[in-house]
């Protein structure tokens, strides 16, 4: 039933920023708990393991490893986030990842294909796989859980068949550099890669500038903005972290190539989801498919492309993982789907669709990654690692839901 609000007696609109007394910082935090809460928990988890591992976690070598180990999860989480926001799930990504790695190995090692055409073909095959699965989900309305469960079995089997049960390797050196290479340093300083620090600093500066520009635009249109103090604090913390991490990495071997790929993808997907009509329509599709359809959104085609995109990203992740191991094994990619899906849910995505942010999924992936890494350094067995990760996933989502129902 309706609120008996006398609509005619509309009070003065509370929209122009000047008239609105800035909501208190605490109040704002409470309303945006999800976004800040995630970041705070990542920092807390890192601090916790930094202490528990006697500082090993933040050592330049380990930080570099952390990035290398998680890059493929993060990359797949970007695609998975779109799939989940659109209201679906993709269980096949681990198998696809392994299958593409196997395909790359067969092409490059057994058939001596050059790296670039082989890699492009692999990405194309990834797109086809995504298209095939998306076809069933989008146009025939078969539940994505079932389609991709089938895909999981199919591509796991195909990877085995392709490799004939053997490991195939090693890869050509150019290909290995995708995962184990670092960006070149023109300054050539020994022991410290200043180019990497420079890139980090420039990125930090760009981040600050674009945030300032965005805020100015918001204010000009009288939109609600976060309190200024919080805004500055956020920028400073983010920029500081960027500079700090690039400094750490610069003092080892510099920024890994894969980090650059990952960072560019994160920026691109964050932009797509938050700023473009395409992203907007995906949220509408997941939020209320019928309403989206009745508003002229081509829901079927959109669902289809979400899966195509997922296929390409899973293929890219497969290439990166294969390059990192320098060999394709029949077991590659197993269980990745669970980490990827967990990353999205830890990052605040909703299983019923329509909710979730790219940065959330990225943070979620790193939460999982830092925990894996930290617990391994601490010497916790793989058995209890799983238990702890499971509990963290459950509690993250529980806090989310609890917070929403409050």
């Amino acid at each position: 039933m309706d609120n008996p609000n006398p609509v005619l007696a509309t009070g003065p609109a509370i929209h122009d920023a000047a008239a609105a007394p800035a909501r208190s910082t605490l109040d704002f935090l409470k309303h945006n708990f999800r976004e800040y809460g995630m970041l705070i928990s990542l920092v807390a988890i890192m601090a916790f393991f930094q202490v528990m591992t006697d500082g090993t976690l933040m050592q330049p070598l380990n930080l570099t490893n952390l990035v290398l180990q998680n890059s493929y999860i993060v990359i797949m989480a970007l695609g998975m986030l779109l799939v989940i926001v659109a209201g679906y799930i993709d269980l096949s990504v681990g198998s696809v990842c392994g299958f593409i790695g196997a395909l790359a190995a067969v092409l490059m090692v057994n058939y001596n294909w050059p790296v670039v055409p082989a890699a492009l073909l692999c990405l194309g095959v990834g797109a086809l796989i995504g298209a095939a699965q998306g076809w069933f989900v989008a146009f025939f309305r078969i539940p994505s859980f079932i389609v991709t469960l089938a895909g999981m079995l199919v591509f796991k089997g195909l990877a085995l068949a392709l490799l004939q049960g053997q490991s195939v390797g090693p890869f050509p050196e150019t290909f290995q550099r995708l995962s184990s290479g670092f960006i070149p340093d023109p300054f050539g300083t020994e022991g410290f890669r200043s180019a990497s620090l420079l890139i980090g600093s420039v990125a930090a500066a760009l981040l600050g500038l674009s945030a300032l520009r965005g805020r100015r635009n918001q204010l000009r249109h009288g939109m609600e903005t976060e309190p200024f103090g919080l805004f500055v604090l956020k920028i400073v913390v983010f920029a500081g972290l960027l500079v700090f991490f690039s400094y750490m990495m610069a003092s080892y071997k510099g920024l890994p190539n894969v980090l650059i790929v990952m960072a560019l993808l994160i920026v691109a997907f964050d932009f797509i989801t938050s700023r473009t009509t395409l992203g907007r329509r995906i949220y509408a599709l997941g939020g209320n498919e019928k309403a989206a359809k009745l508003s002229g959104v081509k829901t079927e085609r959109l669902s289809f492309y979400a899966f195509v995109n997922m296929g390409v990203l899973a293929a890219l992740a497969g290439l990166i993982f294969a390059a990192r191991l320098n060999t394709a094994t029949p077991k590659a990619g197993q269980g990745f789907e669970l980490d990827v899906i967990a990353a999205c849910f830890i990052g605040g995505a909703s299983a019923s669709g329509g909710v979730g942010k790219v940065m959330g999924a990225v943070i979620g992936a790193f939460v999982m990654g830092v925990m894996n890494n930290g617990m391994s350094i601490m010497g916790i067995g793989i058995d209890y690692q799983q238990v702890i990760k499971g509990l963290v996933l459950l509690s993250a989502v529980f806090v989310d839901v609890y917070n929403k129902n409050k």
């Binding site: 309706d2 609120n3 989206a292």
Partner: protein, 507 residues
Amino acid sequence: MDTILEMRDIGKAFHGVVALDHVNLRVRAGAIHALVGENGAGKSTLMKVLSGVHPAGSYSGQVLFAGQERHFKGIQDSERLGIIIIHQELALVPLLSISENVFLGNEVARHGVIDWVAAHGRTRALLAKVGLKEAPSTLVRDLGVGKQQLVEIAKALSKQVKLLILDEPTASLNENESQALLDLLLELKGQGITCILISHKLSEVARVADAVTILRDGSTVETIDCSAGPVSEDRVIRGMVGREMADRYPRRKPAVGDTVFEVRHWRVHHPQHADREVIKGVDLHVRRGEIVGIAGLMGAGRTEFAMSVFGRAWGHRISGEVRLHGRPIDVSTVEKAVAHGLAYVTEDRKGNGLVLNEDIQFNTSLAHLSAVSRAGVIDAGREHAVAQGFRDKLRIRSSGVSQKVVNLSGGNQQKVVLSKWLFTDPEVLILDEPTRGIDVGAKFEIYTIIAQLAAEGKCVIVISSEMPELLGISDRIYVMNDGRFVAEMPTAEASQEKIMRAIVTRH
């Protein structure tokens, strides 16, 4: 004859909105008692009070059944005494057999193990009673609606029914099935079963009812005893609609121009039952600046008609022609319909209209994102300004345009849906139950917006089950029944009686 049921001074309110106001109903044992009234008159609410769906304590007044005051806490309590409701949407499980459905929740079992032989035997006996010649093992899915209705009655009989309540039982039945059902009711009456029949079809009521109670706006108008002779339809219709027409609508001077929008020979089939024709050849035209109403009861096919025209959002095997300014236009997808200047404001704003979890801004721009973006990138400032503009213009009460629509009241949600479609700058606006579930003040505002749109020269089609609303705001009214327009009249010549008569008269 004794009184089996008496409901005294029943009152019920939902969040301060009165649904039932001192309703009285007295039903004699062994009679067929008809309950009539418009949609929203309170019939269903009254039956929910009786059956315990609205538990004792949530309403005021007394319910007396078989001579004793009852305080039903739930539907189980009323069923135990033999009060069984058969709802319009049947509560059968399609993939279970007839006998599984008949004994669902009441299985013929010992220690949880079902005795199928006994169950089938008893089902067969019950089916014979209701005159349904089907094997007990037939799946309900494979039965037509009419036979499913009989299964429901068999199920009621299996529970030793004393008072059977049927809510619009013939709404989805054809002529023969309806007659058979009414015969069955008379037969059950012969066996001493009392029946409350909710129906819109006065001819049926006249045929079987021993008494008729008319409800209007949550109160009893009168109860007519039919033993003296058949009821006068006029008297019932007047009772159903006779409410005061106060100054609830904005005054406007219609400035109607040439015909702009036309739909010709429109036929639509049901998406699941491909051979069932739902819209059976509808012709409609709307002139510039005209507000056209479509009257009819629920299930007449009005929403299906509107949605099938709007980008084939409903139905299958659609045929017919849509014209704008005399030229046929392609409205085969929602996108194309929108591009041609059509807009459809759904009757189900939560289910089909809004992305509830998103804010006002998001919902306002959704159908016309191209206007707030460049090369696919949304200009957040422009979007904000647009939403802000509509918020001010339509007086949407909210803390700002970034408030989630789920937290808005019904009237304000409806204004957000309107904003979304007004932003597409439509030429033809179809409004489906635009004021359903919103309060009186907001209603007036919505009417004002509709009047403004017509004054701007747009074609407006309003679908409504509230006849006073149609009479209050439209220039011309089509009356729809069973997938056809059964009458068309200028509002100046229309009256609620005339509309109701067109609906209830058999065609």
